[in-house]
Symmetry: C3
Subunit: 474 residues, 3 copies
C-alpha cells in the first residue's frame, strides 16, 4: 500500500508535467484565434452581436454542466469511492478537453499550419471528452488516475481520427452523436475492460455498493444530464428549425424513457420495488436513442416510441446481458455502458437509417438538401440551380439517393465499432503496464489509496453493515 | 408489507404502460410540428436565427433546472424519504409534462385538428407540471407513486381547462402565474389532503424529521429555485422591457423576502436560532408575491415591499395557521403550501389589482395597451388608429377601463380557488381507492416500501436517535 | 450559551428590520427604471429583441449560480458547519446585493438625482457581492451572522468608492476583476481577520475538520464555480470578439490550473495522496490569474501558462505561506483567500501589465483603441478621424501610450491594496463590538449556536472520532 502511494507521488506529477510542457509547446506553436476571436478580423462591417460566441456559448455552458456536474455526480455512486468518482472525472475531463482541442484541431480546424480556436472548438472537444468519460464508466473504481490519464491520451486521438474519417469520407448524418459518440465510447470502453479483466471481482466485492447519500448524489448527476441533454443533442445541428426539433425530440425521448424506466424497474425487481441504479441510468436511455435522427422530421410520436424502445432495451441489458458479459465474455462493464450507450446507440442508428430512407421533399420541402447535405445535387446539375433559387447559399452535394445515404450510415456503424473496439483493446494492454499503478483487487472501489480521507469516511456505514451486532467498530 | 409491494409490482407497470399506449396514440394522431419546428415552413425568407427556439430555449432550460433539481432537492428533506422526495418528483414531473403537452395542446395550441409543437409548448407544460408539484407538497410522504400519477392525470386537465377559460373569457393579467399557478396548485393540494386526512399523523410521526444531510440537500433545492425564479416569472411575458422588469422585480422581491425570513426565523424561534425549514421555504415567498404584477411599472421599491410582506405572511402562516388547519380543519399541509403559495398568492393578486388600478398612460406611455391588451380600444375606435401610429401592430382590445380589468382579476381569483378546491376534493376521493396502494400510517415518510434501500439507510441515524438517552451517545 | 442565543433573537431582527426600512426608503426615494426597463422609453423605433436584457441576463443567471450555489457549497466544507457555510453565504449575499445596488448606483448609475436600474446593475452588484463573499472566506466559522451583515454593510461602500475612483480617475483595464475584485476582497478580508485574531485557534480546533459528505458538497461548489467562471470573467467585457476571447482564456486557464493542481497536490502530500482542500480551491486559481488580461490578445498558450503559474503560486501559498501568516503575522486566513485571490491576483496584474505593454496595432488592428479606450487619440487629433473611418463610433480617449497605461495599472494595484487593507482593519475593529455577538472559541466552526440542528448532526461522526477504540459503538 505505502509503496504504491509513494510511487504515485512521483509518477503522477512527472507524467502531468511532461504532458503540460508538451501541450504548452504545441499551443504556443500551432494554436491561434479564429475569425470570431481575433481582434484583427473585426472591422466596420463586423457587428459584435453577430459573433459566434452568442450562438455557441449557451450550448457550451450547458454541456459544461453535464460534463463536470452531471458525469461527476453520477459516477460518485459508490459508498467509499465518492471522491474518486467525482474527482477523477474532473481530472480526466479537464485533460481530455485540452488534448482534444489539439488533436481535433489538427484534423478538423487547421489551415495555414495553425489551429484556429473559438468556443465552437471547445464544444467539439467536450464531445470528445464525453467519449472518454463514457468509456471511463466501464472501468470505474478499477483504475488509478494515471491509468485514466493514459486512457484519455490514447482514446482522444483514436476518436478524433475516426470522427474525421467518418465525417469526411463517409459523410453521415449523426446530429446527436449516436454513432460517433455513444457507439465509439461504448466499444472502446468494453475493449479496455476486456483486457483489464479481474476474475475475482465476478464474485462480488465488499466495497462495490452504495450508501443512501451516494445514491442521492448520483441521482442529482442524472438530473443534470437529463435537464441539459437537449443542449447536448442539438449543439452541433443546423441553426433554426433543425436545432428546434433536436431539442423537442430529445426532451420527448427522455420523458418517455423515464416513465418506462420506473415501470420496468418495479416490474423486474422481485420485491416490486424501485432500484436506484435504474433511476440513475435507464431513465437517460431516451436521450441516446433519439440521437441519430434527432434533427429529422421523425414526428414527436416517433421520438416518444424511440424513448420507450431504448429504455426497454437498456433495462433488459442491465438485467440479463451485463451479468452474461461479465461471466462468459470477461467483459466487466462497471456502469453498464453497453446498455446505456451500446444497445441504445444501435437502436438509434437503425432509427436514423429508417428516417433517412423515409426522407423526401414532400416532408422536408427544399430544406431536405440542407439537412442531408450529401443528397443535394452535384455542381452543374440544373436541379441545383432551381434549389438555389429557393434556398440561397445551398451548397452542391454528392447527389446521393436516400438508399445510398443509408448504406453509408451502415458502413459508419460497423467501421466505428471495429476501430473503437480495437483501439480499446490496444489501450487496455498499455494500461496493464505496472508503471501505471493499477489498484489491487482489494483496493478497488476505494478512495483510500488516492485520497487523504476524513475520519468518518467509512465508519458509520461499516459499523452497521459489518458489525451491527458485534464489538469490532474500528 | 410484502403483499402491497408485490401488488405495486403489477399495478404500477400496468398503469404506466396503459398511459404510454394512450399518450403515444394521441401523439401519433394529433401532434405535429409548429411553424418554427417544421422544415417545410422554412423558405428563403426565413432567417434561422429568428427561430423562436433562441427566444424560448434559455427560459425553458432554466425552468427545467427548477422543476427537476429545484423541486427534487427541496422535497428530499425527510431523513428517510430522500429517495422518495427526489425520485417521485422526477416521475411525477415527467408524466405531468407529457400529459400537459396534450391537454394544453388541445385547448390552446390546436388548429386544423392538430396540436402544433415547439419549445413554447414545453414551457407551458412545465408550468402545468409546477402546479402538480406544488400540490404534491401537501401530501408529500403520504402517497404512493401510483397515487401521484393519478393525481397528475386528474390535476392537469382541471388546470388546463381553468387556465384556458380564465385566459380566454376573463382575460386577466397574471405574468408570474400567481392566480393560475400558485393559487390553483395550493387549493387543489389542500382539497386533496383534506380528503386524505390521517388523524394519527397529528400526534407526530417517528419518521417525520430531517437529518443534517437532508437539510443541506433541501437548501440546495431552495437555491436552485431562488436563482432561476426570475426566468420562471418572466418566461411568458411580452419580450423587451416587460420581460426585463419581470426579472428585476422577481430578483428584488426574492432578496427582500430572504433577508426578512432570516430575521423572522430567529425572532419566532424560542431559542433565537434559525430553523432550517424557514430557510428552505419562507425565503422563496417573494418570488410568488411579486408574480401578478411582475411585468408592470410597480417601481423597484414596491417589489421590495411585496417581498417583505409576502415573507411575513408566509412565516406567520407556518407558525400559527398550519397547526390550526391540521387540528381543526383536517387539512394536513405537509410542506405548508398554503403559506408559500396560498397566502402569498392572495397578497400578489391584491397587489396586482392595485397595480392595474394605478396603471395609466402617463406611466406606461402608449405601451400601456400592449401590457394590458384588453384595455386597448376596440376595433374601429379612432383612438386605436392613433395608437397604432405610435405602436405599429397594436391589436384592438376590449376597451376595458382599469376598474373593469380589476374586477375581472377578482373574478378570476375566486373562480380559480373554487374550481381548484373542488377539483382537489374530487381527486382526493379517487386517490382513496385501495387499488392505488396508499402507504399505511407507519410507512409514511419512508423510502422502504418503494425502494431497495442501501444498508446504511437508517442505521447511524436510528442508532443515535434510539439510544440518545442511554450511555452510548458520546 | 443560552444568553447569547437569546440576544441574537432580538439583535438580528432589529438590525435587519432597521436595514430594511432604510433600504426601502432609499429605493422609494432614489431608484427608478433605466431606459431598457421603463415602459415609457419604448416607442415604434424600439425593437423589443434589442433590449439589453437579452445580452445581460444569461451572464447574470450564470453568476447567480456561482454566488448562491458555487460559493454556498464551497463554503460548506466543515463537518459541523455545513448549515453555516451555505446559509450564511445566502444571507450575506442577499444583503450585499441589495445594498450594492444602492451604493454602486449612487456612484456609477445615477443621473437626474435617480439611480437607474436594469439587469446590468444586478451584474455589477453581484460582483460587489463576490467581493464580500471572498472576504468572508477569511473569517469563515469565526463570525456571527450579525458580524457578517455588518461586514457587508461596511465593505460594499469601501469597495464601491474604490471601484468608482479607480475606473474614473485611473481608468484601468481589468476585465476579469483581478485588481478590483480579487485583490480588494483578499486584502480587505486579511485586514478583518488580522484584527479578529484568535490565538487559541493556532493550536488546532476539535471542530475544524471535514466529513466525507461535506468534502463532496464542497467539490460540487468548486465545480459550479469552475463551470461558470468564463461567464464571470466575460460578463462586463466589450461584446463580440473581446467577450469571446475572455471565455476562451478563462476556460484554458482553469483547465491548465486544474491539471497542475492534481499533480502538485500529490507531490506535496507526504503520502502521495490527493488532498481534498487542494481540489476544492487550487483548481480554481487559473480563473483568477487570467483575469486582468482575459480580453486581450495574449494567445491561448499564454492563458495556459498563466493557469499553470497561478496554480503553482496558490499551492505553494497554501503549503508554506498560510501557516506562516497565521503564526507570525496574526493573520488567520481560514479558507486561504490570500493564496487563491491574493497571490494569483498579483500574478494576474503583472501579466496584464505585460499584455498592455505588448499591445500594438499590428496585433489588434484598429480595435486596439476599443479595448484600451484610454489609448485612443484625444479629441481633435487627426489620427482619431482616421480611426473613426475604420471603426465608426470610436470615442476619443486620452492618447495614453502603452507605458503610461501600464503605470496607471501599477498605481491601481497599490492603491487598491492600501485602501482595502485599511478598510478591512477598520471593519475588524467594528466587528469586535460585543453587541455583534461573536462566537466563543469553543463554538467556532459549529452550527449549534445558530441553528436548530437535527439529532444526527454530530452523532455518528463524533461517535467514531471520539470513541473509535472503546465499546460504545453500537
Amino acid at each position: 500500500m505505502k509503496t504504491r502511494s509513494v510511487s504515485l507521488r512521483v509518477k503522477l506529477p512527472v507524467f502531468v508535467f511532461v504532458l503540460e510542457v508538451v501541450i504548452f509547446a504545441l499551443y504556443a506553436a500551432f494554436v491561434t484565434y479564429d475569425e470570431h476571436t481575433d481582434a484583427r478580423f473585426q472591422n466596420n462591417h463586423t457587428n459584435p452581436m453577430d459573433n459566434a460566441v452568442y450562438k455557441d456559448y449557451p450550448f457550451f455552458a450547458d454541456i459544461q454542466v453535464m460534463i463536470f456536474l452531471g458525469f461527476g455526480c453520477l459516477l460518485a455512486f459508490f459508498r467509499l469511492y465518492g471522491f474518486g468518482g467525482m474527482v477523477f472525472n474532473f481530472l480526466t475531463a479537464t485533460f481530455a478537453i485540452q488534448w482534444a482541442i489539439l488533436v481535433q484541431g489538427y484534423f478538423q480546424f487547421s489551415h495555414d499550419g495553425k489551429i484556429h480556436l473559438g468556443v465552437i472548438n471547445l464544444i467539439n472537444a467536450e464531445f470528445a471528452c464525453a467519449v472518454v468519460l463514457i468509456s471511463f464508466g466501464a472501468v470505474l473504481g478499477k483504475t488509478s488516475p494515471l491509468q485514466l490519464l493514459v486512457m484519455a491520451l490514447l482514446e482522444v486521438p483514436v476518436f478524433a481520427v475516426t470522427e474525421w474519417a467518418v465525417l469526411k469520407y463517409l459523410k453521415i448524418n449523426d446530429a446527436g452523436g449516436s454513432i460517433l459518440i455513444h457507439l465509439f465510447a461504448c466499444y472502446f470502453g468494453l475493449g479496455v475492460t476486456f483486457v483489464l479483466y479481474r476474475p475475482h471481482l465476478n464474485d462480488g466485492h465488499a466495497k462495490e455498493n452504495t450508501s443512501y447519500q451516494s445514491d442521492i448524489l448520483s441521482v442529482m448527476g442524472t438530473l443534470f444530464l437529463w435537464v441539459f441533454w437537449p443542449s447536448f443533442n442539438s449543439a452541433l445541428t443546423l441553426g433554426g428549425d433543425d436545432q428546434h426539433r433536436a431539442i423537442l425530440h430529445t426532451f420527448i425521448g427522455l420523458s418517455a424513457s423515464t416513465l418506462t424506466a420506473f415501470a420496468l424497474s418495479v416490474m423486474l425487481n422481485k420485491n416490486g420495488k424501485l432500484t436506484m441504479a435504474d433511476i440513475q441510468n435507464v431513465t437517460l436511455a431516451g436521450g441516446v436513442t433519439v440521437g441519430a435522427s434527432v434533427d429529422m422530421m421523425i414526428s414527436p410520436a416517433a421520438a416518444y416510441a424511440l424513448g420507450v424502445m431504448g429504455c426497454t432495451a437498456c433495462m433488459l441489458g442491465y438485467k440479463y446481458l451485463s451479468p452474461l458479459l461479465a461471466r462468459r465474455f470477461r467483459i466487466q462493464d462497471q456502469c453498464g455502458i453497453h446498455n446505456l450507450h451500446g444497445l441504445t446507440g444501435l437502436i438509434s442508428c437503425a432509427a436514423g437509417i429508417c428516417a433517412i430512407l423515409a426522407a423526401d421533399e414532400e416532408v422536408y420541402g427544399p430544406s431536405l438538401y440542407e439537412i442531408f447535405t450529401h443528397r443535394a445535387p452535384v455542381e452543374g446539375d440544373p436541379k441545383l440551380q432551381e434549389l438555389q433559387m429557393l434556398i440561397p447559399g445551398l451548397r452542391p452535394g454528392l447527389g446521393r439517393t436516400a438508399r445510398e445515404q443509408a448504406l453509408f450510415q451502415v458502413a459508419a456503424v460497423f467501421s466505428t465499432i471495429g476501430v473503437s473496439a480495437l483501439g480499446g483493446v490496444f489501450t487496455g494492454f498499455i494500461l496493464k503496464l505496472p508503471y501505471l499503478a493499477p489498484p489491487s483487487d482489494d483496493f478497488c472501489f476505494d478512495d483510500k489509496p488516492y485520497f487523504d480521507v476524513p475520519p468518518n469516511y467509512d465508519s458509520p456505514l461499516q459499523l452497521y453493515s459489518k458489525t451491527a451486532t458485534d464489538d469490532s467498530a474500528a
